[in-house]
């Protein structure tokens, strides 16, 4: 098939790849790489009898994922060493949290920068400790971008490590301050789960809220298949725990994210057969189909297709993040500099 559904099917039902011919595999590999899901796919199909070339490619993808996992855990450990004396909870987010907590969502996941969440009133101390004790420094940003980050975003301007060349993003909440939903950052911190080494991860319901917020608010739905795969894996890891769905429903309300969480669950169910709860997921809406078409918009070369649809989503995601006037100012400043 000529869209990303080949990848979705392979993730959902790994044995289905046995019916692929080499052209099917070629497309699957390019799509999985483009969607940053090659590692996840490679672990899903591990152990299956596959064509020799596919076995090699999947082994390469696992090797790459293993490298990213090790690097992510090490960056977290170095942040822990730099921040250990501060006595503030340091909460790992996204991919690093999944691998550190040993969750299924972390298996084979591609991981970029280190993202951490700390209480807002600890931001300055955290920033100072990372720079003075940890060896991180500012990525060269000009004044405008810097002020922009500090005034409107949910994170410090990114820091990069002097020696290791790796970035860290320090957040104090999970959405920009200009976004319409205002997640309860204090509750995120209060409910976070400590690990043996002293670092924390978000409570499982909050992890799902974060992934859903990220899906619809941050970017143009790019990376959506991976995001929904995270949500699928998280639900499967936790849905049998007593009271899980009730808590998820409550948390989503509390963070003003009930709609994104509901839609994310419905999309994940449609794509990956995720076990979901009808009350939290809500009833199907007209927009769901549009989102699905957007998520599938990739051809067998790994190219994005359906460009106009993508552009509509990009505008939309900018509107979500910034009130209109501020957006105009932001774009204008960018144009002038270009």
């Amino acid at each position: 098939m000529n869209d990303a559904s080949a990848l979705v099917r392979a993730l959902r039902d790994p044995a289905s790849v046995k019916s692929l011919d080499s052209d099917g595999w070629t497309a699957l590999v390019s799509i999985a790489r483009a969607e940053q899901l090659a590692g996840s796919l490679a672990y899903q199909v591990q152990g299956l009898e596959l064509p020799a070339a596919a076995v090699r490619l999947m082994a390469d993808a696992r090797r790459s994922a293993e490298h990213q996992r090790r690097q992510a855990l090490w960056e977290a450990e170095m942040a822990r060493r730099a921040l250990g004396d501060l006595d503030v909870p340091v909460i790992l987010l996204k991919g690093t949290a999944y691998v550190a907590a040993g969750l299924s969502a972390g298996i084979g996941r591609s991981i970029g920068d280190l993202d951490i969440l700390v209480p807002r009133d600890a931001l300055d101390a955290v920033e100072r400790a990372l720079i003075e004790r940890g060896g991180w420094e500012w990525v060269k940003e000009d004044e405008y971008d810097d002020a922009y980050y500090r005034d409107h975003m949910h994170e410090l301007p990114p820091l990069i490590h002097k020696e290791r060349d790796r970035m860290i993003d320090v957040h104090h909440t999970i959405l920009p301050r200009t976004a319409k939903p205002t997640p309860d950052a204090q509750a995120l911190v209060a409910d976070s789960v400590p690990m043996a080494n002293g670092l924390h991860f978000l409570s499982p319901p909050d992890m799902i809220c974060h992934a859903a917020a990220h899906l619809f608010a941050d970017g143009d739905l790019a990376g959506g298949l991976r995001n929904l795969w995270d949500i699928d894996r998280l639900c499967r890891d936790f849905f049998t725990q007593p009271g899980f769905w009730e808590t998820l429903g409550e948390r989503a309300e509390r963070h003003e994210l009930a709609k994104p969480v509901g839609r994310a669950l419905r999309l994940a169910e449609t794509l990956y057969g995720t076990p979901v709860d009808g009350d939290v997921a809500g009833r199907a809406r007209a927009g769901d189909g549009l989102y699905l078409r957007r998520l599938f918009a990739r051809d067998g070369w790994g190219c994005e297709t359906r460009k106009p649809l993508r552009f509509a989503f990009y505008l939309r995601s900018h509107w979500l993040r910034m009130p209109p006037l501020m957006l105009a100012r932001h774009l204008f400043t960018k144009w002038r500099k270009a």
């Binding site: 070629t26 390019s30 070339a53 293993e66 090790r70 190219c303």
Partner: protein, 286 residues
């Protein structure tokens, strides 16, 4: 993608898609006889920035499974170069099976000489010249080390001759082996040259690395020993995936440094360099 061409170079398969036919026709002619691949390791895409740019002042964007976010487009007349750069990019960003060294290599008697060093050191030209003088060219740009066996795999893409180096081969080798002369590329004038039949016929045969050289152009002829620590550091710098391969990469590289004799060579002209290589090769096989 409208047009497609597939090929295998050494142990690596590529699929190249293009919005235009022309660059792929050139590739197909120069890579004639290279094996096809059913399930390629990497996909390269040559595409127009905007749909109408296929026709109006066409410029080629280079993409693929692995991409650089701000790669500048190239003129369609340089499409062949764009395709080669696209393949290089996939290797540099995505290769996870072999330790990739930015080095040239040539084989004789079942063993290989590896040459690496800063760009402009002449490693590409030297390997290509060796390839015309009784050696088998294994690659002028990348060498692939198998982390399990320590053997060197060939990667004989088209040789990318630059500026003065072009004249060393024109008139010397079969004219059908040359691509078009590409003027005013970001690297000056470039002309691609197909490796000879020997190099293509034996490209699937890995061999043991037996000599490692760090050539340097523009100095009086000299041969210097190098400390193993320095060699190790310079090879990590010459590798695009050393860190990503983790312990396997460490083992492969440290044992390469421990077992393969290494020399730095300075040379004022290519004939002197070739003489030095042959001389060191004879000494190292004693």
């Amino acid at each position: 993608m409208r047009h497609e061409f597939r090929l295998t170079v050494g142990p690596v398969g590529f699929r190249i898609g293009s919005d235009w036919r022309e660059p792929l026709d050139r590739l197909a002619a120069l890579y004639d006889g290279y094996p096809e691949t059913a399930l390629p390791d990497f996909t390269v895409r040559l595409f127009a920035q905007r749909p109408w740019r296929r026709f109006i002042r066409p410029s080629v964007m280079i993409g693929g499974d692995y991409m650089l976010p701000d790669a500048a487009p190239m003129a369609l007349a340089h499409g062949l170069l764009a395709a080669e750069m696209g393949m290089n990019l996939q290797m540099a960003l995505g290769q996870r099976r072999y330790l990739l060294l930015h080095a040239s290599a040539a084989e004789k008697g079942g063993k290989a000489v590896l040459m690496t060093g800063a760009s402009g050191a002449g490693k590409s030209t030297l390997s290509a010249l060796l390839g015309e003088r009784g050696w088998r060219l294994m690659g002028d740009e990348f060498a692939l080390v198998d982390c399990e066996t320590g053997l060197l795999h060939a990667f004989p893409r088209l040789v990318s001759l630059k500026n003065e180096a072009i004249a060393l081969f024109e008139g010397q080798v079969d004219a059908r082996r040359f691509g078009p002369k590409l003027s005013d590329t970001p690297k000056g004038t470039i002309r691609h040259m197909r490796p000879n039949d020997e190099a293509v016929a034996h490209m699937a045969e890995p061999v043991k690395p037996a000599l490692l050289l760090f050539p340097r152009f523009g100095h009086e002829a000299a041969v210097r020993p190098m400390g193993a620590g320095e060699v190790f550091v310079r090879l990590t710098q010459a590798s695009t995936n050393y860190v990503a391969l983790g312990e396997a990469g460490f083992d492969a590289l440290s044992s390469l440094v421990k077992t393969v004799p290494t020399r730095a060579i300075d040379y004022p002209d290519t004939e002197t360099a070739l003489r030095l290589v042959e001389q060191l090769w004879t000494e190292s096989s004693l």
